[in-house]
């Protein structure tokens, strides 16, 4: 599908900046105006840092005028999920417990984006501690889906998805532990990249699950996501999980197309999954057909049952999140929102043996997926089995698993990319998910760009008004 009003990507904005056709200050002012225009309805931001944004933009303009070019992100507005520390700003994690918290130094991601000359607009909404959900007892309203604000964005990178989909920013930073980048990306029709575990430093990001947390971008296009990853990837000796792996050029080969790629489809993951819609299945099949027409080899493959990945992931995530919050849950449980409290407290019911068995299964599952990726360049699977639910349909209490299939690749740590491909009949987006070999984000992004091109997907300008039905 295609729509009118394709906005300029990061690379094009950079060309305009360097040609003197626009200034970083103008870009920042336009972004701030857009926030003023739509965020009252969408609630993507919990903090708009106007002074910081304009100061960053003026510095970018001065540097570019002086011939000091920091690269493609120089002068580009962005925002961070409010789990990332920025010196001097609160990192609230969307919790009333942390409204007065002030970060004393930048997170690694904030450092790298600042070094790249990015302009920071502020902090974005998240599910409480990246684990709760939309609920009435949050200190700030939950984000709403720009395609239809009566629907959820998904979480936990809810604000980043809403901000990108509505054109407030071209990219935003999120985190993904059980699908928290890819789920909101799919529900909001933007690209969401969960890099390989350890590819992007987690230093200064409030943890949910130490062994499963990943940091990555949500962006309007695959190219924009690649540009962001280029800036934030790399070894950090201060993050014990950081991988000392070379950082390739993620833009090289981005437009090679899908010809020659070998792609496996673990169809049993989604074909009969609870809640999968016919439209979601058709979207995947259409993507498969398009890839085949463009010269890719695409075949169904078999992986271990989805339930093994999801159970393994849930046990590890719940146990590790509980360990993070144990002291506060004992001393001040009522300061959490009810949903967050309920979810994290379940970690106390898990035994050490449960956790160790999950770790053992994790290692086995990672080996199986890595083995499959020796025979296949990529995997293609579902991202959202259905479109984003209505806000008023979300139950108050414990929530059953969502329509997002993301656990397998936070369990195994392989890079995974959500790419929107079409709108369903309800006017809400559907996406597919591409998974690659460890540290082979280049191939994942190449395939993502091919899928994006083949589907004709373009994020329209002007959501939410452009998307209203």
């Amino acid at each position: 599908m295609s729509t009118a009003g394709k906005p300029a990507g990061i690379a094009e904005l950079g060309r305009r900046l360097r040609a003197g056709k626009v200034t970083a200050v103008a870009l920042a002012e336009a972004a701030l105006a857009r926030i003023d225009e739509v965020d009252g309805e969408l609630h993507a931001f919990v903090r708009v840092s106007r002074d910081r944004a304009l100061a960053d933009a003026r510095r970018a303009d001065d540097e570019l005028a002086a011939g000091f070019d920091r690269g493609l992100l120089h002068g580009i507005p962005h925002a961070l999920k409010d789990v990332f520390d920025v010196e001097g700003m609160p990192t609230t994690c969307h919790s009333s417990m942390r409204l007065d918290h002030l970060a004393t130094r930048d997170s690694a991601v904030a450092e790298k984006l600042a070094a790249a000359g990015c302009v920071l607009l502020g902090k974005l909404a998240t599910d409480e501690f990246a684990f709760g959900g939309p609920s009435p007892d949050l200190p700030f309203p939950p984000s709403r889906n720009p395609w239809n604000p009566e629907h959820t964005t998904g979480g936990s990178s809810s604000g980043p998805a809403a901000a990108v989909a509505s054109g407030m920013v071209r990219f935003a930073m999120g985190t993904d532990t059980g699908g928290s980048i890819r789920g909101p990306a799919a529900f909001c029709g933007v690209v969401g990249l969960k890099p390989t575990y350890g590819r992007v430093s987690k230093r200064g990001a409030f943890p949910l699950s130490y062994t499963m947390d990943h940091c990555g971008p949500l962006a309007a296009t695959v190219e924009d996501a690649a540009i962001c990853l280029q800036a934030i990837a790399g070894y950090d000796a201060l993050d014990q999980a950081s991988a000392d792996q070379p950082v390739p050029d993620y833009l090289a080969g981005l437009r090679k197309g899908a010809a020659g790629l070998r792609i496996g489809v673990p169809r049993a993951f989604f074909a009969s999954a609870p809640g999968v819609t016919l439209e979601a299945l058709k979207a995947i099949d259409a993507t498969v057909a398009a890839l085949r027409r463009s010269g890719a080899v695409v075949e169904d493959i078999t992986l271990p049952p989805y339930a093994q990945f999801s159970t393994c992931g849930r046990v590890m995530l719940t146990a590790e999140a509980y360990a993070v919050h144990e002291a506060d849950l004992r001393s001040r449980p009522s300061d959490y929102t009810t949903l967050t409290m309920q979810r994290i407290m379940l970690g106390a019911t898990l035994s050490a043996a449960d956790y160790i068995q999950a770790l053992r299964l994790r290692r086995e599952l990672a080996g199986v997926v890595s083995g499959a990726l020796k025979r296949w360049d990529l995997l293609l699977t579902a991202c959202n089995l259905a479109t984003a639910p209505r806000m008023d349909s979300l139950p108050d209490g414990f929530r059953v698993p969502s329509a997002i299939q993301a656990y397998p690749f936070t369990v195994t740590g392989h890079p995974a990319l959500a790419v929107p491909v079409t709108l369903a009949s309800d006017g809400l987006p559907l996406a597919v998910q591409l998974v690659g070999k460890a540290f082979d984000e280049q191939t994942v992004l190449r395939a993502g760009a091919a899928v994006e091109s083949l589907s004709g997907w373009v994020l329209p300008d002007g959501l939410p008004s452009a998307g209203r039905r």
Binding site: R314, P333, M345
Partner: protein
């Protein structure tokens, strides 16, 4: 079986088990949230057997500890 979870465990036993685990952990659940938490507990408890796969003693330990090289330098 009515009043049981899918393992056939009576509901009352499950509630007692959950309450014991919460007490052991030092956690106080607001009374109006216990029912919802039991739903979550039943769900996660019912899945745990998936983790139990036949594994030989020789299976690699999941979280082998190793010292970083700098700690081994005299």
């Amino acid at each position: 079986m009515p009043g049981s979870n899918k393992d056939g465990q009576p509901e009352g036993d499950l509630q007692l088990e959950f309450a014991t685990l919460m007490r052991r952990a030092g956690l106080a659940i607001p009374p109006d949230r216990i029912a919802d938490m039991l739903v979550g507990y039943k769900d996660i408890r019912g899945r745990l057997e998936i983790l139990r796969q036949p594994r030989a003693h020789s299976a690699e330990p999941s979280n082998t500890y190793a010292l970083p090289p700098s700690a081994m330098t005299p």
